[in-house]
Symmetry: D2
Subunit: 396 residues, 4 copies
């Protein structure tokens, strides 16, 4: 204590594990993940571990330095091949573009880093297989960034289903609608799926819906699908015309191995649907639905034998001490979380699994989930071309 009453803190009093992070990418996901690491360090106390932001990596020296300053990394790399060898790094977090998921992630796994890779895991089955093989062979922990599993309302849905409260699952129905490309005059720069080489909306957001279907309703057996692109060319702000390779919307129907019926539809040409991930599950004893635009609520209808007159969907504000992931955030009830908090819970889970050597499954998505997801995407695309029902046949 100084004369004026100021005490400096003594960190040595606090025996909290630390874990070194190496982050690839400083864009949208780089920001969301970095923010999550910061919040993990203080939102609950003591945290499972305090993330040490060792380094961030990107090709542009100036920009990556700025990102390191901004997000308080100790330093940065401009070559991921060097970062994956950094001995201070325990988690390699790949938040870069889809095409950059494969090579760096495999390399990091081979270096023995625990790997977290954003979704979609890869842009081909071959890549996904190799990535899965790499983590299996190296024995590291691995997660694929299906962050919506970690919204408290989604996890509550999972718990309700695991408890058997829905009975036998009959149906899964889902939409994931964005508005961004609905106007044919919209410029390429403003449309996330329209960039060069982007595989499209089935990869970009359909993959989320496929993961939710598998997470909540079961493994998928067969699919039929249609993918569409209404605006095959668009201009950029400089008046240059670009071909758009990926799909703009798609629909698929499927059968689960448990016999349930499934239906998903994805679109980025749906005016007014800003982030409308809607899904519903119907079973013999109850139903659940959810909308990401109102992410703190879950709607649940469980049959009440004795009072049919009081039956209906209950709108649950999933923000109470009794709810999943609540202990990570504010202890008070009624506190609405934001979209970003799904990443906080997700990365907190990964760190917890590493520190305490727990299995990432079944609540976290692994590279296996990313691989199966890729098989399903591929089958939908093939069905759209050949007009036939496709079987999902995992090789792992």
């Amino acid at each position: 204590m100084t004369e004026n009453g100021f005490h400096t803190v003594n960190n040595k009093n606090y025996d909290i594990p630390k874990i070194g992070i190496g982050m690839l990418g400083y864009g949208f996901m780089g920001k969301a993940h970095s923010n999550a690491y910061h919040k993990i360090s203080y939102m609950s106390w003591p945290p499972v571990a305090i993330p040490q932001l060792v380094a961030i990596c990107g090709r542009n020296d100036k920009k990556v330095e700025e990102a390191a300053v901004r997000y308080k990394y100790q330093g940065y790399y401009t070559d991921w091949k060097q970062m994956v060898k950094d001995p201070s790094i325990e988690i390699f977090d790949n938040g870069s573009s889809d095409k950059m998921h494969f090579e760096p992630t495999v390399a990091a796994a081979k270096e023995g880093k625990h790997v977290f890779c954003e979704k979609p895991l890869a842009v081909s089955i071959a890549e996904a297989e190799e990535m899965l093989l790499a983590v299996q062979q190296s024995g590291v922990k691995h997660m694929c960034g299906f962050n919506y599993r970690f919204i408290p309302a989604v996890r509550l849905a999972k718990n309700i289903i695991e408890e058997g409260k829905l009975g036998k699952i009959y149906q899964f129905t889902g939409h994931y609608f964005h508005p961004f490309g609905s106007d044919p005059e919209e410029k390429v720069e403003n449309i996330w799926y329209a960039g060069p080489g982007h595989p499209g909306v089935l990869y970009g957001i359909g993959s989320h819906l496929i993961d939710i279907a598998r997470f909540l309703a079961g493994e998928i057996d067969t699919v039929m699908g249609i993918t569409k692109n209404f605006n095959k060319t668009r201009f950029d702000s400089n008046g240059k015309k670009h071909a758009i390779a990926g799909d703009e919307c798609n629909a698929a129907i499927f059968e689960f191995t448990n016999g349930a019926l499934g239906s998903i539809e994805t679109s980025c040409i749906a005016p007014g649907r800003m982030n409308h991930q809607f899904w519903e599950i119907n079973g013999s004893k109850g139903s659940i639905y959810f909308d990401l635009e109102d992410l703190n609520h879950l709607h649940v209808c469980l049959k009440q034998n004795n009072r049919k007159d009081l039956s209906g969907f209950t709108k649950i504000l999933v923000a109470e001490p009794e709810h999943p992931y609540h202990s990570i955030f504010y202890p008070q009830p009624g506190i609405a979380l934001g979209w970003e908090d799904s990443f906080v819970a997700e990365l907190n889970h990964f760190i917890d699994c590493i520190i305490n050597n727990k299995s990432v499954e079944p609540y976290g998505a692994t590279f296996y989930d990313g691989y199966i997801n890729q098989l399903i995407i591929d089958a939908i695309e093939k069905s759209s071309v050949n007009g036939k029902k496709m079987k999902i046949a995992a090789e792992f």
Copy 2:
């Protein structure tokens, strides 16, 4: 005027057309239609015509007499073959069971009666073709009972699309979910699709969704579909076991001839969804959605160029003097209509088309619509068996 001030009315002062009705069936649809004819006679004034309830028909003498008394028909028949010859009857209204749609309706058309037939038009393509042929050859007016076209909110949606306010149509998505069969222990008597010979929920309510898709988004070109039945046998209250022939739920994806993508899903095993007909249409300039459980509202998002910050879905209470079909009901604003009022507007339209020799189309569904609907149902069922995309090929 009598001494005590009582005036008897002089109907001759009121030169309002009359139209004779012969009703087949006195169950659910018989009640809804009879109620509609009564309300048509006084809800707006002067009405387009005053329905004369000539006769109602059913096999059970005692029950049909009671129905005639109850619904104020002048008399009744126990043999539809006799009723279709009654010269006082101008409209033959078939509200009987699905299997009884075909023969009486064809006979009535051949007798030159205008024919209104409940949906689904038939239970096979062959029947539907012959019914369509019959009305075309006799030249009578004909409607198929897709009553949801006549909900003011649905018609407003149609108007908005016809005005081009949604731009190019990209997608149609629909659900029609009922809860009735979700419990495997539910008795056969309580499940409308479980009766002997009932063709199932794709016929029963899927047909409505197919009609709405065609009404609002355009003609359907190809389909892929899956139908499911999780509870292939059920008991009745007497402990007798019954085989359930029809489907309990189904999902289909399709392409419209205008290139749009479509998806529908029907279920009668969805707890909590009491009458959840939901559909959404996305176009290049706007979106619309609707839910039958809240039938007085339509949700519309039209892009606003100048104020993107004020954009979103507008929840319109479709109950104002500016709205479709409002003049048929109460002139006051803000008066919520009920489910039954869709029949009032529908049958009022039919009578108007007859009295004023107008075309039933495009706002009313004809036997052609019933026939195409049947083709699509058939294609979905075939696709579910063969796992292939099916082409809709009308022969008319």
Copy 3:
């Protein structure tokens, strides 16, 4: 049976009571009530009684004859003083303007007719007292037209409260908002509360909210209130300026005799609120809320001791066989009712009470309820002037 198979019905087979109706007024309420009497005769079977539409009454000979033809009354009167003496009339139904409630209703009661009078019962305490006295002295059945008690969702709320499921009642909060006068340029003809001599929105719709508060939460002890009129003059379509006497909006807070806290607010200058009667009740064990724009639903939150994580408001579609008043309408589940059906259930209740000599209370509103309502309106108006808390002191 005729040779061609046509059977005429034999009404004598059906021993159903009949009850004679005399209707005063053929405007908005005249239509809603006449429609209700028709529907009562056939919606459920057998009905409690079949209304005989004896006569309708209005001053304009030509218009009232037209109304009699339209709504199928046997005849008409142009002088209510003569109609109240008609021996065929058992129910005198007063659906005329507020100012015309007093004199004809008292006269009819004195003639021994059962009297139904629209709300507000009167336009002064003195009138209301005399009306109540008249029915008490003559011993006739009497109801005041607070029809919203007869919406199934509202009655379900009453049942839930009577069962004690909300525990001790803490609070009642209500809004009743209309949009009609919000624009200062709106013409007098388009604003229901702006007609000459109209007492304003507290009488017009505030009375409904007061009745719901009393029906569900208990008797009112004291009130404080504010009434406002922002547009004291308006033009009609001919450019003539009119003074507007009544209030446009008001707010009041009150204490119930059971200690609960109350708050109501009424407005006809609320853009976008087409018929927004919202109210909420909070008790020690649960809460309920309702919105008239979505009249088939009730939202109920009952505390669940064992699963706080599944707690929230349940949105109940009050349209199932288990629900109040369902048996009056369609036996099928999931059939949304319209606004007009509140009158069907209300008048059906009145007829049932007469035919079976039951008490109109507690589910129907009597002239006593109309009288107390008037006391409360008066107290709110006085408090707005004197800025003080007013005690409700019934003399009956």
Copy 4:
């Protein structure tokens, strides 16, 4: 750059202002504010300033050290009298209990610190006056923590009103309902307003509603109010009985100086209402409503002259680049914010006003707003006792 490619960052390249923070309190608000300071430093880039977390203060040495470690403060104080003199501190942030707002805040202001004080500003008019006087005399920047002004949807409402889009304001209606004390058996520890000396829910959350009313609808002229306490004693977990001094619910009606009518109701005994801050504003040209349980949406109805048939409330997801405060968070559209982000925007505004010497008003709440708020609370409490309309008479 090291040999292995690791670059350490060079902070000197980034010329971003810094600002020293001294935080009083490490409970709920201490956490929310500390989190906000962290997020301000990186969520947008460059930030208006980077908060330097100089010190946190609390009486319990062990706990405050832990808080300093957890939230990454450089050090801590156990005596606020010493912290307010720390020359590194530019902002004194008072997030401690209501009773502790007065003395430390005045002291900090006298030391020339910019002061941020949580709401309610004080627990008496005398305190509030002295606090306002202190900041006026010292000339420091000051804010009172009415954070809900900084929810993007609330600020959008403010903008819409400032643009005149609602026309003349007629009415403000608000509820703020919590469920925490509804059960009489609930233990004292679980009820935030039941602690010893807590002034109750009118202070605790009613103050928020009063602030929103003033922020959006104008200054308040007169009030009438009722406050209630149904559970005057409660037990704690140890079985000890406690008297509860403050109110549990209250209702007030008021007149604004602009003539508008106001109504608010606050409750902490409303089951199912987890954080239900609802308010609605009606004007001559439009209406707005908002619910804090769905904080990313604003519902707006603006009259459309040309298309009355498309009119209604538009549900706006206030999370687009066009919206207020969006630039502070993620540049992507459709990203739902959480409750905590209101503090991020609020404290960012305060820092911006200090760094760039801008006025805190009109978008931020000052000590003047806190003082007026206290006057209104006091008037409601007095009116509840004397049953009279009270005038709000500011002395400043």
